[in-house]
Amino acid sequence: MPPDLKNSVAIVTGASKGIGRAVTLALAEQGVHVVLAARNSDALHTLENDIRATGNQAFAVTTDVTSEHSVNNLIYESEKKFGKIDILINNAGVGVFEKVIDTSTEEFEEMMNVNLKGAFLCSRAVLPFMMRQKSGNIITIASLAGKNSFSGGAAYSASKWGLIGFARSLMLEAREYNIRVVTICPGSVNTGFAEKERNEPLIIQPEDVASTVLFALSAPDRVNVSEIDIRPTIKPRT
């Protein structure tokens, strides 16, 4: 029997929009108590209210995942509110797509800090709780850019490449405590992440990533879906 997610507690970073928002809503729909973390306080509280209106539990904690202090506060508040942490969704991410010659040092550092350091800080902070309870799920939303190189994506790709390396190593450490570490690598997702919002059928929807998160979480306890790559299906020309 797949594990029942009802009443488990999940922290979702980057919950205010895109994939994070879709994952948060999908988890809440399963009866998971969700902690919403992001920098945008207004968007976060709107989502918190929307979820509460459906009768599910949500708790917004304005968080900057690049700040150790802010992440520690997120974990402290989550534990205080719900008494446990079962699931961490490392989703917060930023992307600037420019050639190396045009990428500023600040842009490079922002991507490394949010995409890589943020996942490190959040994972490290939840580990003591999960290790103590000898269970837990750390799901990292990486990207196929972490496996494929492309022109105009050097810094972003490097941050995601690092993230996958981080998650693979974490998986080997955390499994000793029955903690599952899952890395999801989506291709192009329609998140508004790129400057121009795209609506082509070739773009997968945030909800598709959310359903992949649920798929990984619903695997039997003995099974760890350690990596999964998803891409839009290309419709053949008729």
Partner: protein, 242 residues
């Protein structure tokens, strides 16, 4: 609850369906209402497996097939097309191994492993792709192993065959992706099947997944929305790799 597309009953061909992951996958597809072609080398066992599916109200057709033989694959495909008309889904699962150091591995063992695990995938994919490309739809699941990308002792030829089947599959996906065919690489860690000795199955039980775990994952991925495709999935026992 996993559901099929309305008003359509897909035909699923599972190789290596006499036991283990193949049998579990055939059962899992039958359980959601698919027509299942169970193929393998052991005719009696295939008939027993198909009979059990039919007894449960499902549709199953046993077809003897040695995937390493071009003639056998062609004959099996002919039977399938005659009896079922189409293959919507191919699950390439048939596999063999010998746990042996490199220097003790014989040429005969090398040929047997590569013929089934690599050449077999080539032959079956080739046989189903003709009609899938014509219909502009189809789903191929290629079951490999984490040994395709990880170093293990006593497994050099098996690893080589799995690395080969993974590379083969990735290239096929690259070619047919734009033509409506979805090719999914399933890369499992240790699964408790007869590929392992009784002694090892007992000793490493907690570090092995069950065939149904892989089967259920395959069926879930098959039922994903049409707009997304899972290219690769690595699935391992939580407790550790062997």
């Amino acid at each position: 609850m996993i559901e099929l597309e309305k008003n359509y009953i897909p035909t699923v061909w599972v190789t290596g369906a006499t036991k283990g992951i193949g049998l579990a996958t055939a059962n899992a597809f039958a359980a959601i209402g698919c027509k299942v072609i169970v193929s393998g080398r052991n005719k009696n066992q295939l008939e027993i497996n198909a009979g059990k599916i039919i007894d449960q109200g499902g549709f199953a057709l046993p077809v003897v097939c040695d995937v390493s033989s071009e003639r056998s694959v062609r004959s099996a495909m002919g039977t399938i097309l005659k009896r079922a008309g189409i293959v919507d889904v191919l699950v390439n699962n048939a596999g063999v191994t010998v746990f042996q150091t490199f220097e003790k591995t014989t040429v005969k063992e090398f040929d047997s492993i590569v013929d089934t695990n690599l050449r077999g995938y080539f032959l079956t994919m080739k046989s189903v792709l003709i009609s899938m490309l014509k219909n502009k739809r189809g789903h191929i699941f290629n079951v490999h192993s984490v040994s395709a990308t990880t170093v293990f002792s006593n497994s050099s030829v098996y690893s080589a065959s799995k690395a080969g089947s993974l590379a083969l599959s990735r290239c096929v996906r690259h070619e047919v992706r734009k033509k409506g065919i979805r090719v999914v690489d399933v890369i499992p860690g240790a699964v408790e099947t007869e590929m392992w000795s009784k002694q090892n199955r007992k000793r490493f039980h907690s570090k092995m997944m069950q065939p149904e775990d892989i089967a259920d994952a395959i069926v879930s991925l098959y039922c994903q929305p049409q707009r997304i495709t899972t290219d690769e999935i690595i699935i391992r026992p939580v407790e550790g790799d062997l």
